[in-house]
């Protein structure tokens, strides 16, 4: 059996090496191969990625944090103190061998459970060759799923709070809290947060809470994608990059960019070899400072400008389409609504709808809202009729997505789109386009800028409108199921995807 180990103690001059020696002796005596990384004062020679990949189990003999622990994610792991390794190395080796065997059994029996990172025997994915051959694609997917799984509670809590505020306070609650026009009434908005309850009532509080939770959605997504890639050091640049994605209106796609960039930059900075005297301040000052600066600068300056340009270009282009066929316009706006689910393109379409509403063109607003309701609904439906195509976190997101979709909270689809953008975005675009076109075709109207099913009383031709939503939902569901079947390789079963929500293996050693 092949084992790897890391030893580490507070001073790094004695126990680290004694433990390493003891483990090597014990493994040798038991007929196993072992490579030990001594994270001590004499400097650690890192285990090679290949050595880690082919290992059947991992031993941590450490009294202080193991550095770069994420390299070992997914491996059966045995943890002990350095003293345990020195006094009872044979016992640790036996445990490691046993956990490797039980993990292998669990997998062959098809019962691989999702492993909580860091704790004792963690189920691993089927064959160890799979670790070696972990393709960039599946690694990318693991990173994205890590971000998505941390984001989902924010989507669920924020979305349901906002939906409840609509139910209790009517769709005008958004205007009451934030200010704006609703049904011809001008609301000043709540200026002092301390007056929120008095002026906007309980529904106003729910709306505000939901909006705050939603404001963290993209930062958390970006932060934890970077965490998946580069461990704790990734969180700061990821979150800051995500905040900037929000500020520049880049939406969740901007969040994906920020998260991946932050992870890559942090991984790169961690590779830099520095003298030991400087090494101490690397994780404290240097890496956070540089990674936040690089990611923030890129998002603000390099990404921010083009997004604003594209938005104003799209807005001009839409205004130039005034005379175009109504059904075509509905399809186009619907596709835009579904493209980035609250991102810059979606915003352009939505603002086009509200501008039309202000000039009493009520059909455009109706088409926009129908298309915005479809993505969460279609994906929720897909998680029900083809459960196996979705990971556990996605199924949970699906449960909340029903209410979010009905409430015209398009963001409910983000967890799906962020985890698997290339398959999900085409489905939300197609579904949105179908809903927008159908709504135009049946001539539905809407006199409110938002509210979803809760403003059904303000919708003209409600049955036609429901038809539009049903058509869009069916299209999104059909396309996403088809896409997930087509591109799914045989080596990518749902069970593996399920266990991939924890931090994945890092790229480099």
């Amino acid at each position: 059996m092949k084992l790897v180990a890391v030893t580490s103690c507070p001073t790094g001059i004695a126990h680290t090496y004694m433990a390493a020696e003891a483990l090597e002796q014990a493994a040798d005596a038991a007929g196993h191969e072992i490579s030990v990384e001594t994270q001590g004062a004499a400097g650690a020679t890192p285990l090679t990625a290949a050595r880690i990949a082919e290992a059947d189990a991992v031993v941590f003999a450490a009294d202080v944090d193991v550095r770069d622990k994420e390299r070992f994610t997914g491996k059966p792991t045995v943890t002990g103190s350095v003293k345990r390794a020195i006094n009872d190395a044979a016992g640790l080796i036996t445990e490691a061998a046993a956990s490797a065997e039980s993990a292998a059994t669990a997998v062959s029996a098809g019962t691989a459970s999702s492993g909580a990172a860091g704790s004792a025997p963690v189920a691993t994915s089927p064959a160890r060759t799979q670790h070696v051959a972990l393709s960039f694609g599946s690694q990318l997917r693991q990173w994205l799923m890590t971000g998505v799984s941390y984001m989902i509670p924010f989507v669920a809590a924020g979305g349901i709070l906002i939906a409840l505020s609509f139910v209790l306070g009517g769709a005008e609650i958004a205007a009451i809290v934030n200010g704006g026009t609703f049904q011809g009434t001008e609301y000043p908005g709540v200026s002092e947060l301390s007056n929120l309850f008095a002026e906007a009532g309980f529904a106003g509080v729910l709306f505000k809470l939901g909006a705050e939770a939603f404001s963290m959605l993209v930062p958390i997504l970006a932060g934890f994608i970077a965490f998946g890639m580069a461990d704790r050091m990734g969180i700061a640049p990821g979150v800051v990059g995500g905040l900037i994605a929000v500020a520049i209106g880049a939406g969740f796609l901007g969040g994906l960019v920020a998260g991946l960039l932050a992870g890559a930059v942090t991984l790169g900075l961690k590779q830099i070899k520095v003298p030991r005297g400087v090494a101490g301040i690397m994780p404290v000052v240097v890496i956070p400072l540089l990674s936040v600066f690089v990611v923030g600068f890129a998002m603000l300056v390099v990404v921010g400008g083009p997004i604003a340009t594209v938005q104003s270009g799209l807005t001009d282009w839409l205004s130039g389409l005034a005379g175009v066929n109504a059904i075509l316009l509905g399809a186009l706006l619907g596709a835009m609504m579904g493209f980035d689910l609250g991102g810059p393109v979606n915003k352009v379409a939505y603002l086009f709808g509200t501008a039309a509403l202000a000039s009493d063109n009520l059909t455009v607003m109706a088409a926009v809202m129908a298309a915005g309701m479809v993505p969460p609904l279609g994906l929720a439906l897909a998680t029900v009729i083809r459960r196996k195509l979705f990971t556990q976190p996605e199924r949970q997101a699906g449960e909340a997505a029903w209410l979010l979709g009905l409430s015209f909270i398009t963001e409910g689809a983000i967890p799906f789109a962020a985890a698997d953008p290339l398959r999900v975005i085409p489905s939300t675009v197609a579904g949105g386009a179908a809903a927008g076109a159908t709504s135009m075709a049946v001539g539905s109207t809407l006199m409110a800028p938002h509210g979803g099913i809760w403003v059904i009383g303000l919708i003209g031709n409600p049955f036609g409108y429901l038809l539009a939503i049903l058509v869009g939902t069916a299209v999104t569901c059909g396309v996403v199921v088809g896409a997930k079947y087509v591109r799914r390789s045989p080596g990518e079963p749902a069970a593996q995807a399920e266990s991939s929500t924890t931090a994945p293996q890092a790229v480099a050693a």
Partner: protein, 148 residues
Amino acid sequence: MSDLITADLVDLDLTGEDRHQATAALATRLAKHGRVTDVEGFLTDVRAREEQMPTGIEGGIGIPHARSAHVTEPSLAFGRCAGGVDFGAADGPADLVFLIAAPNGDEHMTILASLARRLVHDSFKNALRTAPDADAVVTLIEKEVLGR
């Protein structure tokens, strides 16, 4: 740099009521031979490490150690204590005490690392227990640790 250990740094009749006294006796030897500039300061650093977790290892070994600004070069003081001194190991007192003094900085740490690695070998420990005199101890350690 001079040798890791010399005969002057070996005490085959180490005594001490407890680990602090035994450690202090060895530290005094280090100071007398210019390896430690400030015995009290060095002992404070050793105690700080000892308080994180006792350094006793099963099999009669105590390895008080520290990286300290008061150390001039990587040094080992070795004591053999017939009566045993408690270093907090689960199986009782230590009769072999290794006081490892490391300066701040990175150099020569590999020597201490290879010393630490030898300590888990029974043959090495038994040879130290039966070594007739201080010179034999030094020769043994140089052979095992430095390979010469």
